[in-house]
């Protein structure tokens, strides 16, 4: 089922005029609640070499079926980096939760995501005087890293923690008066067995389902260092 994912994203290139693409109708979603009237969660996905990424393919395949989810594949929509700012703003306004989903390249996000931040989050719209349009929305990062969680410690190979590296995102969210949640991180990717990967992907699906259904307290989530930990905690409570 994974092999056809790429084409799922590209077979309807004719509607490039509508940059937002809803997620493919596949994956492990199990919910059967009545769909919410408006989309809530926007996944800004940025991966310049998605066709090569086993991990990210698994994560996207795990997205639950839901009208409350929008997957927005930046490299697919703007292969020339020419981001349509007005269209992006419109999409942002239509959602409550913003996810920056990307591989952790050189301790940061791939270039197009930075481009997106620089162009779309305008002064006077997202922040600064009159910049209240994103107020009270929620944002966080979903990342995949080659290094393990241990490698991202003060005494580890990378000398700083993931949270420290993500400071620019956190502060950007603050600047735009959004709530910033801890990241969901799939780490040590090159070592992940297929089983471990499937479990993490399922966790991601679970997380999105909870968010889409508005079934979790953002405040409570903010207590954890990683959303992975919150999920583990949640599942421990649910399945004793």
């Amino acid at each position: 089922m994974h092999s056809n994912f790429r084409s799922t994203f590209t077979n309807d290139e004719n509607d490039a005029a509508t940059p937002a693409k809803t997620i493919p109708r596949q994956g492990v979603g199990t919910h059967d609640e009545t769909p919410l009237p408006a989309p809530r969660v926007l996944i800004l996905f940025a991966h310049p070499r998605f066709e090569k990424s086993r991990v990210n393919r698994a994560l996207l395949d795990a997205l639950p079926l839901s009208d409350a989810l929008t997957l927005h594949d930046l490299y697919e929509i703007y292969p020339d980096y020419n981001i349509d700012v007005e269209a992006e703003k419109k999409i942002l306004l239509a959602h409550d939760i913003l996810i920056w989903h990307h591989p952790f390249y050189m301790y940061s996000a791939p270039a197009i995501l930075k481009q997106w931040l620089d162009l779309v989050l305008e002064y006077g719209w997202a922040h600064g005087a009159g910049g209240d349009f994103l107020k009270d929305k929620t944002a966080f990062n979903v990342i995949t890293t080659g290094g393990t969680r241990e490698a991202y410690r003060r005494d580890g190979f990378n000398r700083f923690t993931i949270r420290e590296f993500l400071c620019p995102f956190e502060q950007t969210a603050r600047l735009c008066k959004m709530t910033y949640l801890p990241p969901f991180a799939v780490q040590g990717t090159y070592r992940l067995t297929d089983e471990e990967l499937a479990r993490q992907a399922a966790d991601y699906g679970f997380l999105l389902q909870q968010l889409a259904a508005d079934a979790c307290s953002h405040e409570e989530m903010g207590q954890f260092t990683f959303l992975n930990d919150w999920i583990e905690d949640r599942q421990r409570i649910q399945t004793p």
């Binding site: 790429r6 290139e13 310049p48 697919e76 890293t145 241990e150 490698a151 190979f157 090159y190």
Partner: protein
């Protein structure tokens, strides 16, 4: 010494190959080259060919026949219909007025009215072969002058039918011809019956084209043998020509008719490409024969008479044509091209004079003289066109330009675009959308009118003329874009600019790789192959359709463009050395393939380390 077919072929081909490129280099067009080649090898210069030049001419007239077939093929009825006013109006005005003036002149010179009327009709004809060829070479086919010339020529070509049909009536009183070879069937019949036969033959061509030829071609096509279709195409032309000759009609007209009938058939392009090479060669041969047949003895015996006759005819035709152009509202410079272009006496005059001679309408001496006048006038008009283009038009062109000079000089534009077809106008629109005004040069007066209405600052005129460039503000401009479709025009323009306006940055549209090399050789740095970007863009979309990620496909396209441009620069110095060019081209292709393979290689090694962090064995894990 002059015996044998091979020797003859050798002489003709050598003469053509020596003279035509020289004529083209001098900017005089291939027609003049062929004519000079004919004169050079003719009986009055090198003497390689003697009187048999006449026979060659009869043979080569077949080139004209084929040309008319091709013209007919290109003339769809709808196109014909759209041009009807121009064809009927300009054509009839030209023939009738010219014939009347010439006829009156000849009657004043004491010729009898029948001789005068017949020769004046023949002299009113212009040379379709020469004019269309010249216009095409100069890229004027699509201008007002070009279209008007075509219309008039077409009318003349059609008018030959009734003229040929009516000539026997003129001859009635003097008795019938004594044995015109091809007219055996009609010999001895009364004039009105001949006329009827002629009209009947025309009708049968139309019917046969509809109901016989197309099914016949379908049958041939089913054999899947290409040469059989070529043979069939030739058979159609030759068969029609033969039928026409049988009833004493012009073969050219018959094939023209056949061409028009077949223009709507599915074999149109097939026939076109089959006949085209034969036509080209035979027309060349025809012009050579015309050159060789000029009777210089006549010229030496009575030079004043012949020369004054030639110039009188050309003058009368030019003045009438100018008047016609004026009547149909041609611009002055377009009108000049139109009038001078059509001022010669055409190849149909040979046919008509020959026919009149047979019918005893013309005496021997006069026929010879008229033939000489025709051939000489055909030699002179390319020269006139050349003089017009180089020395007359520049002055008149500027008159029009100078009226506009005032508003050009107060707004100096940094960019000049030469050639405003689809390519140039896209550049112009893009620049205008970004607030950059450009001065535009174009030599199609229709387009200029339209663009002016749309608010573009357009100069009508040939960008290759320095005075036009000057009034377009080349002194103060920074960039000049040559967006003309024709590579040789671009070449000339670049040469001029490098000489007179070295400060201008030249950006050139080129047709293909070869053309781009030419420009690089000339020292132009900004060279743009016209189809490169588009084809790559299409290729990128193909990748996407096949399921590639859009970003990966876009990068592959950008890389390909970059490699291709780099390869172009690297190969440019080697292209004169054929062997090393091929070698290098192969090497480049290999290199390009390697580079591209690297780009899409799934095995994450050599490049793009930064992007592989989620697959690579990071050293951090070794702790």
């Amino acid at each position: 010494m002059t015996e044998g077919f091979l020797f003859q072929a050798l002489i003709y081909l050598t003469a053509a190959i020596v003279c035509v490129p020289i004529a083209k280099r001098l900017g005089m067009g291939s027609v003049l080259g062929y004519l000079f080649a004919g004169i050079v090898i003719g009986p009055y210069a090198l003497g390689f060919i003697g009187r048999e030049g006449q026979d060659i001419m009869h043979f080569a007239e077949f080139g004209v026949v084929m040309m008319l077939f091709l013209i007919g093929l290109e003339l769809e009825p709808s196109h014909f219909w759209r041009m009807r006013h121009r064809i009927l109006g300009m054509g009839s005005a030209q023939i009738i007025i010219t014939a009347l003036v010439v006829c009156a002149g000849m009657m004043l010179l004491n010729f009898n009215w029948k001789t005068a009327l017949a020769s004046s009709l023949a002299l009113a004809m212009s040379s379709t072969a020469m004019v269309l060829q010249s216009l095409k070479e100069k890229g004027l086919g699509d201008t007002e002058a070009g279209r008007s010339s075509f219309a008039v020529l077409l009318f003349q070509d059609i008018a030959v039918i009734p003229i040929l049909a009516l000539l026997p009536l003129l001859a009635v009183s003097t008795g019938h011809g004594t044995g015109g070879q091809g007219r055996a069937i009609l010999e001895g019949l009364p004039g009105w019956l001949q006329t009827a036969a002629v009209l009947g033959a025309g009708g049968s061509v139309v019917l046969a084209g509809r109901f016989v030829i197309v099914p016949f071609l379908r049958l041939m096509a089913r054999t899947n043998l290409r040469e059989l279709l070529t043979a069939a195409a030739l058979l159609i032309v030759i068969g029609t020509a033969f039928l026409m000759q049988l009833v004493g009609l012009s073969p050219a007209l018959g094939t023209f008719l056949a061409g028009v009938v077949l223009a709507n058939s599915e074999f149109r392009h097939e026939l076109e490409s089959d006949i085209e090479p034969f036509k080209g060669l035979l027309l060349g041969l025809f012009f050579i024969a015309v050159g060789a047949s000029i009777n210089f003895n006549l010229l030496i015996d009575s030079p004043l008479q012949v020369i004054s006759l030639v110039f009188a005819v050309i003058a009368v035709k030019t003045i009438v044509l100018l008047g016609t152009g004026r009547l149909f509202k041609l611009n002055f410079d377009q009108n000049l091209i139109f009038a001078l272009g059509l001022s010669q006496v055409g190849e149909f005059a040979f046919v008509l004079f020959g026919f009149m001679h047979q019918l005893h309408i013309l005496p021997d001496r006069l026929t010879d003289r008229m033939m000489a006048v025709t051939a000489l006038s055909m030699t002179i008009t390319p020269l006139l066109l050349f003089i017009n283009e180089r020395f007359i038009l520049p002055h008149f062109g500027t008159l029009e330009a100078e009226e506009k000079e005032a508003d050009i000089i107060d707004v100096q534009h940094p960019v000049i675009i030469a050639g405003f077809g689809d390519f140039g106008s896209t550049i112009g629109r893009f620049l205008r959308a970004n607030g950059i005004a450009a001065t535009i040069l174009d030599n199609d007066s229709d387009r200029v009118d339209l663009l002016r209405k749309m608010g573009f600052k357009v100069f009508y005129g040939d960008a290759g003329r320095t005075d036009i460039l000057k009034s377009a503000g080349a002194d103060a401009a920074r960039v000049l874009i040559t967006a003309v479709a024709d590579p040789s025009t671009n070449c000339d323009l670049v040469e001029k600019i490098q000489k007179y306006y070295p400060h201008l940055t030249i950006m050139v549209r080129t047709k293909d790789r070869e053309d781009a090399y030419e420009m690089l050789d000339m020292g132009v740095k900004d060279v743009y192959r016209e189809s490169l970007d588009t084809s790559i863009r299409l290729g990128v979309d193909v990748l996407v359709k096949l399921g590639y990620r859009r970003y990966a496909a876009t990068r592959a396209g950008q890389n390909f463009l970059k490699y291709d441009e780099a390869a172009l620069l690297r190969l440019a110095p080697h292209r004169h050395d054929e062997k090393s060019y091929i070698y290098n081209a192969r090497e480049q292709i290999t290199l390009q393939e390697q580079l591209l393979a690297n780009d899409r290689d799934v095995n994450p090694t050599i490049n793009d380390h930064a992007w592989e962090s989620d697959l690579r064995a990071d050293s951090e894990a070794k702790e």
